[in-house]
Protein backbone atom coordinates (compact mmCIF):
# COMPACT_ATOMS: atom_id res chain seq x y z
CA UNK A 1 0.00 0.00 0.00
CA UNK A 2 1.19 3.50 -0.80
CA UNK A 3 -0.22 5.51 2.08
CA UNK A 4 2.63 7.88 2.83
CA UNK A 5 4.72 9.23 -0.03
CA UNK A 6 7.66 11.58 -0.20
CA UNK A 7 7.53 14.15 -2.99
CA UNK A 8 10.93 15.67 -3.69
CA UNK A 9 10.76 19.15 -5.19
CA UNK A 10 13.36 21.56 -6.50
CA UNK A 11 13.26 25.12 -7.72
CA UNK A 12 12.35 24.23 -11.30
CA UNK A 13 9.38 24.13 -13.68
CA UNK A 14 9.14 20.29 -13.74
CA UNK A 15 8.67 20.34 -9.96
CA UNK A 16 5.35 22.17 -10.30
CA UNK A 17 4.05 19.71 -12.89
CA UNK A 18 5.26 16.81 -10.77
CA UNK A 19 3.48 18.23 -7.72
CA UNK A 20 0.21 18.48 -9.64
CA UNK A 21 0.56 14.89 -10.84
CA UNK A 22 1.41 13.70 -7.31
CA UNK A 23 -1.65 15.40 -5.83
CA UNK A 24 -3.87 13.59 -8.34
CA UNK A 25 -2.18 10.29 -7.46
CA UNK A 26 -2.53 10.97 -3.73
CA UNK A 27 -6.21 11.67 -4.18
CA UNK A 28 -6.71 8.29 -5.89
CA UNK A 29 -4.62 6.43 -3.31
CA UNK A 30 -5.92 8.44 -0.35
CA UNK A 31 -2.25 8.94 0.51
CA UNK A 32 -0.51 11.56 2.62
CA UNK A 33 2.26 13.50 0.89
CA UNK A 34 5.44 14.63 2.62
CA UNK A 35 6.76 17.40 0.40
CA UNK A 36 10.51 17.77 0.81
CA UNK A 37 12.81 20.55 -0.38
CA UNK A 38 16.51 20.20 0.33
CA UNK A 39 18.78 23.21 0.28
CA UNK A 40 21.96 21.76 -1.09
CA UNK A 41 24.77 22.63 1.30
CA UNK A 42 27.22 22.69 -1.61
CA UNK A 43 25.23 25.46 -3.27
CA UNK A 44 25.22 27.66 -0.18
CA UNK A 45 27.43 30.69 -0.64
CA UNK A 46 29.17 33.13 1.66
CA UNK A 47 26.54 35.65 0.63
CA UNK A 48 24.05 35.43 3.51
CA UNK A 49 21.38 37.41 1.66
CA UNK A 50 21.54 35.00 -1.27
CA UNK A 51 21.18 32.05 1.11
CA UNK A 52 18.19 33.68 2.79
CA UNK A 53 16.54 34.30 -0.58
CA UNK A 54 17.12 30.66 -1.46
CA UNK A 55 15.42 29.62 1.77
CA UNK A 56 12.47 31.94 1.18
CA UNK A 57 12.06 30.55 -2.34
CA UNK A 58 12.11 27.01 -0.94
CA UNK A 59 9.37 27.81 1.57
CA UNK A 60 7.31 29.54 -1.13
CA UNK A 61 7.47 26.40 -3.31
CA UNK A 62 6.43 24.24 -0.35
CA UNK A 63 3.54 26.51 0.66
CA UNK A 64 2.30 26.76 -2.92
CA UNK A 65 2.07 22.97 -3.09
CA UNK A 66 0.40 22.93 0.32
CA UNK A 67 -2.22 25.40 -0.90
CA UNK A 68 -2.89 23.27 -4.00
CA UNK A 69 -3.12 20.16 -1.80
CA UNK A 70 -5.63 21.90 0.41
CA UNK A 71 -7.78 22.74 -2.62
CA UNK A 72 -7.51 19.09 -3.72
CA UNK A 73 -8.31 17.83 -0.21
CA UNK A 74 -5.01 15.95 0.03
CA UNK A 75 -3.12 15.67 3.32
CA UNK A 76 0.39 17.14 3.22
CA UNK A 77 3.35 17.83 5.46
CA UNK A 78 6.12 20.25 4.52
CA UNK A 79 9.76 19.55 5.22
CA UNK A 80 12.69 21.87 4.53
CA UNK A 81 16.10 20.28 5.00
CA UNK A 82 19.66 21.34 4.42
CA UNK A 83 22.43 19.04 3.28
CA UNK A 84 23.11 16.51 0.56
CA UNK A 85 19.70 15.86 -1.10
CA UNK A 86 20.26 12.11 -1.67
CA UNK A 87 21.11 11.56 2.01
CA UNK A 88 18.31 13.77 3.32
CA UNK A 89 15.68 11.99 1.22
CA UNK A 90 16.71 8.61 2.61
CA UNK A 91 16.76 10.09 6.11
CA UNK A 92 13.19 11.45 5.78
CA UNK A 93 11.98 8.28 4.05
CA UNK A 94 13.16 6.04 6.87
CA UNK A 95 12.51 8.28 9.88
CA UNK A 96 8.85 8.85 8.94
CA UNK A 97 8.45 5.26 7.66
CA UNK A 98 7.23 6.45 4.27
CA UNK A 99 6.33 4.01 1.51
CA UNK A 100 8.23 5.60 -1.34
CA UNK A 101 9.67 8.60 -3.16
CA UNK A 102 8.27 10.49 -6.12
CA UNK A 103 10.88 12.42 -8.04
CA UNK A 104 11.19 14.17 -11.40
CA UNK A 105 13.40 12.44 -13.96
CA UNK A 106 14.73 15.93 -14.68
CA UNK A 107 15.82 16.37 -11.09
CA UNK A 108 19.39 17.53 -10.47
CA UNK A 109 19.81 14.83 -7.84
CA UNK A 110 22.51 12.15 -8.08
CA UNK A 111 20.22 9.25 -9.05
CA UNK A 112 22.88 6.57 -8.73
CA UNK A 113 23.61 7.64 -5.16
CA UNK A 114 19.91 7.78 -4.30
CA UNK A 115 19.11 4.40 -5.85
CA UNK A 116 22.14 2.88 -4.15
CA UNK A 117 20.81 3.95 -0.77
CA UNK A 118 17.13 3.06 -1.34
CA UNK A 119 15.83 0.47 1.13
CA UNK A 120 14.58 -2.62 -0.74
CA UNK A 121 11.05 -2.41 0.65
CA UNK A 122 10.49 1.16 -0.59
CA UNK A 123 9.15 2.32 -3.94
CA UNK A 124 10.64 5.02 -6.14
CA UNK A 125 8.55 6.67 -8.85
CA UNK A 126 10.59 8.63 -11.37
CA UNK A 127 8.18 10.71 -13.43
Amino acid sequence: MLEKLLLYVEDSAPAKALANWTLKLAKVLNARIFVVFVINQKKKTKNQLKNQNQEETAWAILYEIEDDAFEANVKVSLILEEGRPEDKLIEVLTSFELDGIIISRQSRIDFSSLLGQMPKDKVIIIK
Binding site: Q52, E55, E56, T57, A58, W59, A60, L62, Y63, E64, E66, D67, A69, F70, N73, V74, K75, V76, S77, L78, I79, L80, F96
Partner: protein, 151 residues
Amino acid sequence: MQKISELLSPAVVILELKSKEKLAAIRELASVLIEQGIINDTDEFFSAILKRENLESTGIGSGVAIPHARTKAVKDIVLAFGRSQAGVDFSSLDGKPSHLIFLIAAPEEKKSEYIITLARLSKILRNEEVRVKLNRAKTPQEILTIIAQNE
Protein backbone atom coordinates in the same frame (compact mmCIF):
# COMPACT_ATOMS: atom_id res chain seq x y z
CA MET B 1 4.01 43.81 -0.45
CA GLN B 2 3.91 44.61 3.26
CA LYS B 3 6.65 43.47 5.61
CA ILE B 4 5.83 40.98 8.37
CA SER B 5 6.62 43.63 10.99
CA GLU B 6 4.14 45.98 9.32
CA LEU B 7 1.40 43.36 9.51
CA LEU B 8 1.88 43.00 13.26
CA SER B 9 1.03 45.53 15.94
CA PRO B 10 1.43 45.36 19.73
CA ALA B 11 -2.36 44.93 19.99
CA VAL B 12 -2.24 41.55 18.23
CA VAL B 13 0.60 40.11 20.30
CA ILE B 14 -0.14 37.85 23.29
CA LEU B 15 3.00 37.33 25.35
CA GLU B 16 1.56 34.37 27.27
CA LEU B 17 -1.31 32.38 25.85
CA LYS B 18 -3.72 31.00 28.43
CA SER B 19 -4.73 28.14 26.15
CA LYS B 20 -2.88 24.85 26.35
CA GLU B 21 -4.62 23.16 23.45
CA LYS B 22 -4.37 23.87 19.71
CA LEU B 23 -7.92 24.93 18.86
CA ALA B 24 -8.25 27.00 22.03
CA ALA B 25 -4.94 28.72 21.22
CA ILE B 26 -6.15 29.55 17.71
CA ARG B 27 -9.40 30.95 19.15
CA GLU B 28 -7.45 33.03 21.67
CA LEU B 29 -5.27 34.47 18.90
CA ALA B 30 -8.29 35.10 16.66
CA SER B 31 -10.01 36.92 19.51
CA VAL B 32 -7.43 39.73 19.40
CA LEU B 33 -8.07 40.14 15.67
CA ILE B 34 -11.83 40.20 16.32
CA GLU B 35 -11.33 42.85 19.05
CA GLN B 36 -9.41 44.95 16.53
CA GLY B 37 -12.31 44.63 14.06
CA ILE B 38 -10.03 42.96 11.53
CA ILE B 39 -12.20 39.87 10.99
CA ASN B 40 -15.57 40.52 9.43
CA ASP B 41 -17.04 37.01 9.72
CA THR B 42 -15.92 35.05 12.77
CA ASP B 43 -17.60 31.76 11.83
CA GLU B 44 -16.16 31.81 8.31
CA PHE B 45 -12.72 32.64 9.74
CA PHE B 46 -12.70 29.69 12.17
CA SER B 47 -14.12 27.38 9.58
CA ALA B 48 -11.28 28.22 7.14
CA ILE B 49 -8.55 27.90 9.76
CA LEU B 50 -9.90 24.66 11.25
CA LYS B 51 -10.49 23.04 7.86
CA ARG B 52 -6.81 23.46 7.12
CA GLU B 53 -5.74 22.30 10.58
CA ASN B 54 -7.73 19.12 10.04
CA LEU B 55 -5.93 18.41 6.79
CA GLU B 56 -2.36 19.26 7.70
CA SER B 57 -0.09 20.10 10.56
CA THR B 58 0.79 23.77 10.71
CA GLY B 59 3.47 23.09 13.29
CA ILE B 60 6.70 23.56 11.33
CA GLY B 61 8.94 22.22 14.08
CA SER B 62 11.55 23.77 16.39
CA GLY B 63 8.75 25.07 18.61
CA VAL B 64 6.99 27.05 15.89
CA ALA B 65 3.45 26.81 14.49
CA ILE B 66 1.88 28.95 11.78
CA PRO B 67 -1.85 28.21 11.54
CA HIS B 68 -3.07 29.85 8.34
CA ALA B 69 -5.82 30.09 5.76
CA ARG B 70 -7.20 32.07 2.87
CA THR B 71 -10.68 33.25 3.71
CA LYS B 72 -13.42 35.70 2.77
CA ALA B 73 -13.50 36.77 6.42
CA VAL B 74 -10.63 39.24 5.99
CA LYS B 75 -10.02 42.08 3.57
CA ASP B 76 -6.25 42.07 3.81
CA ILE B 77 -3.48 39.85 5.11
CA VAL B 78 -3.67 39.73 8.90
CA LEU B 79 -1.33 38.37 11.49
CA ALA B 80 -1.46 37.67 15.23
CA PHE B 81 1.26 36.29 17.46
CA GLY B 82 1.04 34.29 20.67
CA ARG B 83 3.67 32.75 22.88
CA SER B 84 3.27 29.79 25.18
CA GLN B 85 5.92 28.89 27.73
CA ALA B 86 4.38 25.43 28.29
CA GLY B 87 3.91 24.87 24.58
CA VAL B 88 0.90 23.81 22.53
CA ASP B 89 0.70 20.55 20.59
CA PHE B 90 0.35 21.42 16.89
CA SER B 91 1.29 17.87 15.77
CA SER B 92 4.65 19.08 14.48
CA LEU B 93 6.68 16.49 12.60
CA ASP B 94 9.48 16.77 15.15
CA GLY B 95 6.99 15.88 17.89
CA LYS B 96 7.81 19.00 19.90
CA PRO B 97 5.23 21.45 21.29
CA SER B 98 4.96 24.91 19.74
CA HIS B 99 5.96 27.92 21.83
CA LEU B 100 5.82 30.58 19.10
CA ILE B 101 2.50 30.68 17.26
CA PHE B 102 1.72 33.00 14.36
CA LEU B 103 -1.83 33.07 13.02
CA ILE B 104 -2.08 34.25 9.40
CA ALA B 105 -5.18 34.85 7.33
CA ALA B 106 -5.43 36.31 3.84
CA PRO B 107 -8.24 37.12 1.43
CA GLU B 108 -9.02 34.35 -1.07
CA GLU B 109 -7.76 36.37 -4.02
CA LYS B 110 -4.37 37.30 -2.51
CA LYS B 111 -2.74 33.93 -3.00
CA SER B 112 0.74 35.08 -3.98
CA GLU B 113 1.05 37.64 -1.16
CA TYR B 114 -0.19 34.97 1.24
CA ILE B 115 2.41 32.44 0.04
CA ILE B 116 5.20 35.03 0.24
CA THR B 117 4.14 36.05 3.76
CA LEU B 118 4.16 32.42 4.90
CA ALA B 119 7.52 31.78 3.23
CA ARG B 120 9.10 34.92 4.65
CA LEU B 121 7.88 34.23 8.16
CA SER B 122 8.98 30.57 8.01
CA LYS B 123 12.43 31.66 6.87
CA ILE B 124 12.74 34.16 9.74
CA LEU B 125 11.62 31.59 12.30
CA ARG B 126 14.00 28.91 11.07
CA ASN B 127 16.78 31.03 12.53
CA GLU B 128 17.45 29.71 16.03
CA GLU B 129 18.79 33.04 17.25
CA VAL B 130 15.50 34.73 16.30
CA ARG B 131 13.48 32.05 18.10
CA VAL B 132 15.54 32.47 21.27
CA LYS B 133 15.04 36.26 21.16
CA LEU B 134 11.29 35.91 20.58
CA ASN B 135 11.03 33.50 23.50
CA ARG B 136 12.86 35.97 25.76
CA ALA B 137 11.16 39.20 24.61
CA LYS B 138 9.49 41.07 27.43
CA THR B 139 7.12 43.35 25.54
CA PRO B 140 4.97 43.18 22.39
CA GLN B 141 7.03 46.02 20.92
CA GLU B 142 10.18 43.96 21.41
CA ILE B 143 8.59 41.13 19.42
CA LEU B 144 7.92 43.54 16.54
CA THR B 145 11.46 44.90 16.69
CA ILE B 146 12.99 41.39 16.53
CA ILE B 147 10.89 40.53 13.49
CA ALA B 148 11.72 43.87 11.81
CA GLN B 149 15.45 43.36 12.38
CA ASN B 150 15.39 39.94 10.77
CA GLU B 151 13.37 40.43 7.60
